[in-house]
């Protein structure tokens, strides 16, 4: 709608930042503007219409007057022609008679006459409307008829006619009478025309005045609306708890909203002209600079978010979050606009929750560690298979508990003390990950190269892998294996975790990959896909890349790229020594040993090596042999 756009155009660059609110006043303003504009359009149309009519009427009137005055000359010519012929001279009264009739006929009944310009064109004249003019014209026609009757009689009878003298006299009288009547008619027509034209002019002047008034009203309404809106935005900007800051291209603050007094305890005037960097905490300065530089180089209209700390007048630091927009292309702003929100309280709350979570998890971690040490001791001295099995079960539960507790520490976001400094064989890390998974017996590890992993990352990588392996075992049939393999790449080492399960829908896969790539902060509820969230956080800490893909064989393959910075070579082996051939397993398949337990067992007996011969252990147990061999307790 036209008036709306006009109103919006009046907003300043800062105004543009504030989302347009559906304010009732705007609607009323729109309706008022609509009426004023409608009125203006009607007035202009009326003025144009009247103008056209006046011009047309004036032209027609001029012709009418012209016709009326021609009449007199024609009558005189006819009279003269008749008398000349009667007196024996040569003339053409017949032609003159036709000419005498024509103007009156045209004026009374309407018709076309030659235009006065002489270019041969003809102008249409409407029949006379005014009754007074008509009466005079009809009188005129009657006299012309009479004149022509007498003229005809004179021509027919010639000078020998006894009434000759009387007829000539009558002809002359009629001619004079006609001249007077025509004159009268012309005068009347002129008067009428002048009156109508002056009426038109008066109406036009009135319309013009009305138009000027309407335009003035429109201007006033718009100006008032603009003022109202400006006041509204000023009030929003001034009373908002957010800071609005405009940074000039050289990095100085070009505009600062007054709310800076509330947030940072400084008047806006003190801040304008200084650089933003002076207010930012030294530790955050680099990030802020980077973020702003990147935005300044980005296309106009680009936005970015960053968080930092700003110095309060009293020396304390306020946590803020800033939404930054590049409005360098807007001549009214010509810079970066920062919408800064004070989040100190939220930051404090978040930190205290994180600390609480961290402390609780820390204590649990200590307890679980002690429990595991105790279990280690018990296992060391245990020779009875049944009791050892019970201990293994406890061991497994405690190990999984430790994984959860350590994940909680990661989620708390508190940077924890590094416990391990020496590097760890990558294979150990993978095996540790398997130990942390509920269904570990189904996991097969093969072809991991002889590499070491930085000790500081070892636990996190193990938990990360455990989370992915857990996902793989949970979403595949209990009778299938989950395989972990590895291979070097140009920029690190890739571990692949492949299951033969039902796979994931493309949408779920996309969501999981998004969660992996951009882990949310811990306080956001992410009950769904919590595991991927943990993986994302763990990966982000060490620059690890994780991606899920549909597997060729059905199921899902998780790819984990360990960056070269985390890796080292093990012992004397070359960095990328070929791995142990596939088939190596952390947990050997339970072998079918039925014949070997039979009496007469030969210690020298050689049985063929069974790598993949044995089927995966089936739930619900199948063979006695498996039971005798000691089934995995899970």
């Amino acid at each position: 709608m036209e008036p709306r756009r006009t109103a919006a155009g009046g907003r300043t660059g800062i105004g543009r930042l504030i989302p347009r609110l559906p304010i009732l006043g705007d609607l009323r303003l729109g309706r008022r503007l609509g009426w004023v504009i409608f009125l203006l359009i009607v007035l202009v149309a009326a003025i144009v219409g009247y103008n056209a009519r006046a011009i047309a009427q004036q032209r027609g009137s001029a012709l009418v007057v012209n016709q009326a005055t021609r009449q007199r000359a024609l009558v005189e010519r006819y009279t003269r022609d008749v008398l000349l012929v009667v007196d024996g001279f040569k003339a053409d009264p017949k032609d003159s008679a036709e000419a005498v009739r024509q103007p009156v006929d045209v004026l009374l009944d309407g018709g076309s006459v030659r235009a006065p310009g002489g270019d041969g064109s003809r102008v249409q004249i409407a029949p006379a409307q005014n009754w007074r003019i008509r009466r005079k014209l009809e009188n005129d026609r009657r006299l012309i008829d009479e004149l022509i009757t007498i003229g005809d009689r004179l021509l027919k009878r010639g000078p020998d006619n006894p009434q000759y003298e009387a007829d000539v006299t009558k002809l002359r009288v009629l001619g004079a009478q006609l001249s007077s009547v025509s004159n009268d008619a012309a005068q009347e027509i002129t008067q009428q025309t002048e009156a109508s034209i002056s009426r038109l002019v008066r109406i036009e002047i009135a319309l013009g005045l009305l138009g000027v008034l309407a335009a003035l009203a429109l201007g006033l309404v718009l100006r008032r609306a603009g003022t109202e809106q400006a006041a509204q935005f000023r009030s929003l900007v001034n009373n908002s708890s957010d800071l609005i800051t405009v940074l000039a291209p050289d990095g100085t603050i070009a505009y600062q909203s007054p709310s800076v007094q509330r947030v940072l305890g400084r008047p806006a005037a003190d801040v304008v002209g200084t650089t933003l960097g002076d207010l930012v905490h030294p530790e955050d300065r680099h990030d802020v600079n980077e973020s702003l530089t990147k935005l300044a180089e980005a296309a106009p209209g680009a936005t970015d978010n960053f968080g930092c700390r700003l110095r309060h007048e009293d020396g304390s630091w306020r946590h803020v979050e800033s939404t930054c927009t590049n409005l360098a292309d807007d001549p009214r702003v010509n810079g970066l606009v920062l919408n800064i929100r004070d989040v100190t309280e939220q930051a404090g709350l978040r930190k205290s929750i994180s600390d609480l979570l961290h402390n609780l998890a820390r204590r649990s971690q200590g307890l679980v560690d002690r429990q595991l040490e105790l279990i280690d001791e018990l296992e060391r001295n245990e020779v009875d298979p049944d009791r050892l099995q019970e201990l293994f079960r406890m061991d497994h539960l405690a190990t999984r508990m430790r994984r959860n507790v350590e994940n909680l520490i990661v989620l708390s976001g508190v940077d924890q003390r590094r416990r391990w400094s020496e590097s760890v064989p990558l294979r150990d890390v993978v095996e540790a990950a398997v130990a942390e998974v509920e269904d570990y017996a189904r996991v097969q590890v093969a072809g991991i190269h002889d590499l070491t992993l930085s000790g500081q990352a070892a636990s996190d990588v193990a938990h990360l892998l455990a989370e992915l392996v857990e996902n793989a075992t949970s979403f595949s049939s209990p009778t299938t294996r989950v395989e972990i393999t590895g291979g070097p790449t140009g920029n690190g080492y890739v571990l692949e975790i492949e299951d033969h399960g039902i796979g994931m829908s493309d949408a779920d896969l996309a969501e999981a990959n998004k969660r992996l790539a951009e882990p949310l902060s811990a306080d956001v509820a992410v009950s769904r896909m919590m595991g991927f969230h943990v993986v994302g956080r763990l990966a982000a800490r060490h620059g690890i890349k994780v991606q899920l893909r549909q597997s060729w064989f059905g199921g899902v393959t998780a790819l984990v790229l360990l960056p070269a910075a985390l890796l080292g070579s093990a012992g004397q082996h070359p960095a990328m020594a070929p791995p142990v051939p596939a088939g190596v397993m952390v947990s050997p398949e339970p072998l079918r040993l039925a014949d070997t337990t039979a009496p007469g067992w030969q210690p020298h007996a050689r049985l063929p090596l069974r790598r993949h011969a044995a089927p995966a252990p089936t739930r619900g147990g199948d063979t006695d042999a498996a039971a005798e061999a000691g089934e995995p307790f899970d």
């Binding site: 296992e379 050892l388 099995q389 061991d395 760890v424 051939p581 947990s587 072998l591 090596l609 061999a629």
Partner: protein, 129 residues
């Protein structure tokens, strides 16, 4: 368990995080009952190819047992749980990778030696090594 590639003194990461139950897939019962602590184990020669396809515990045992070594000593030297060692050695024997020699037992099968005796044997073996 061996903390390969890491400092053997103190609890290394691997000792802390690798768990013994994964070595045997949770099994604790040896493939047969005749595998005693004092049973001697010797690697069969010419099985390198087969060994290459096995886990690191199996390979460590094969390397250690070029000369006959008792089950208890394997456990002590490789820092493997006794229960786990017995399961692995039992499997390897069945695969024909190691030979088992049962020393002439002075104690009958039905009456296993007391734990104290075994521990003394173990201590003795450790002292030898």
């Amino acid at each position: 368990m061996s903390g390969a590639g890491a400092d053997e003194g103190g609890r290394t990461w691997s000792r802390h995080y690798r768990r013994p139950y994964t070595v045997t897939g949770g099994r604790t019962r040896p493939a047969h009952d005749e595998l005693e602590l004092e049973t001697l184990v010797q690697t069969v020669t010419g099985t390198d190819e087969q060994l290459a396809g096995l886990g690191r515990e199996q390979r460590s045992i094969a390397a250690l047992c070029r000369e006959a070594v008792s089950v208890a000593e394997i456990s002590g030297r490789l820092d493997l749980l006794l229960g786990v060692t017995r399961v692995i050695v039992g499997d390897m024997a069945l695969q024909g990778l190691v030979l088992l020699y049962r020393p002439q037992a002075t104690v009958s099968e039905a009456d296993p030696p007391p734990v104290e005796l075994l521990e003394r044997v173990l201590d003795g073996l450790r002292n030898i090594s």
